[in-house]
Symmetry: C2
Subunit: 175 residues, 2 copies
Amino acid sequence: MVLTEKTVNKNYIYRGKIINVRCDDAQLPDGKPCKRELVEHPGGACVIAVLEGKIALVRQFRYAYGEELFEIPAGKLERGEDPANAALRELGEETGLSADRLEPLFTIYPTPGYTNEKIYIYEARNVKRGEAHPDDGEFLGVEYIPLAEAFAMVQDGRIKDAKTIIALQYLKNRG
Amino acid sequence: MVLTEKTVNKNYIYRGKIINVRCDDAQLPDGKPCKRELVEHPGGACVIAVLEGKIALVRQFRYAYGEELFEIPAGKLERGEDPANAALRELGEETGLSADRLEPLFTIYPTPGYTNEKIYIYEARNVKRGEAHPDDGEFLGVEYIPLAEAFAMVQDGRIKDAKTIIALQYLKNRG
């Protein structure tokens, strides 16, 4: 069975700074009409960086949840930007770390029911220290957490962010 | 440093079937005004179910990506619904499987930059066969994939959905 839905009309409801929102007229696989709500996002890139056995985690208030979260360094892509460049840039801005090379680990779809965002996850190789320089209006703290402790934070729910869980589980699996 | 942003005004831009969208007036930790775009979502529940060494994966067209994806059975919460109930319901509707008990594994935040969705991930215990009965307008196929093959699909990128990757990585880690 081929499962395909067709776009009949793209209807923009909102064009924002980070997201656009559409409610399209679409067609189900059986030809019947339907509505499809979706969020357009340019995509994100993130990087797991380990320095002397400790992982760099960014502690940041996330407005949508009203909570501080721990996440690996991440940011959204500029238009047409190579995700590896974005990951390296965010690593530098948020933590001051640099890396000789980024290894692609996964491209994940965070919540496919309504967003088209792709998140590119990298691993930093040959990590080196430097000076952080967060964007204006970006308030964050950087913590260096021993890997075993970070794995425990995934298990006990202190780390909740999907991309960060995936990157940590990957490292744990690799051993 | 306490990192907190305050809501000054909640501004609804869209109230939809699955999502609401807001662009709030907010206040940064330093007191400066800012705008915060966010998607309200009621939350989702999903369940990894293994029957005779094979995992139940739902193959479904996702409009936002224009692709068919493999995902563990999942659905959104009804208002005030217990996530475990939702997970069990979706398991039954989408695959026909039932389970004696659901074990909570993780509560994940799929993409905290702009959504408040929480996804509750469960593991089904004592899985049994039954008859699928998908919602009207829900077109999907169910495939039973040997666990080792599913782990390989995570590594080679055939499985892209974040909740599915997290559940599979968890099983792989547990061994």
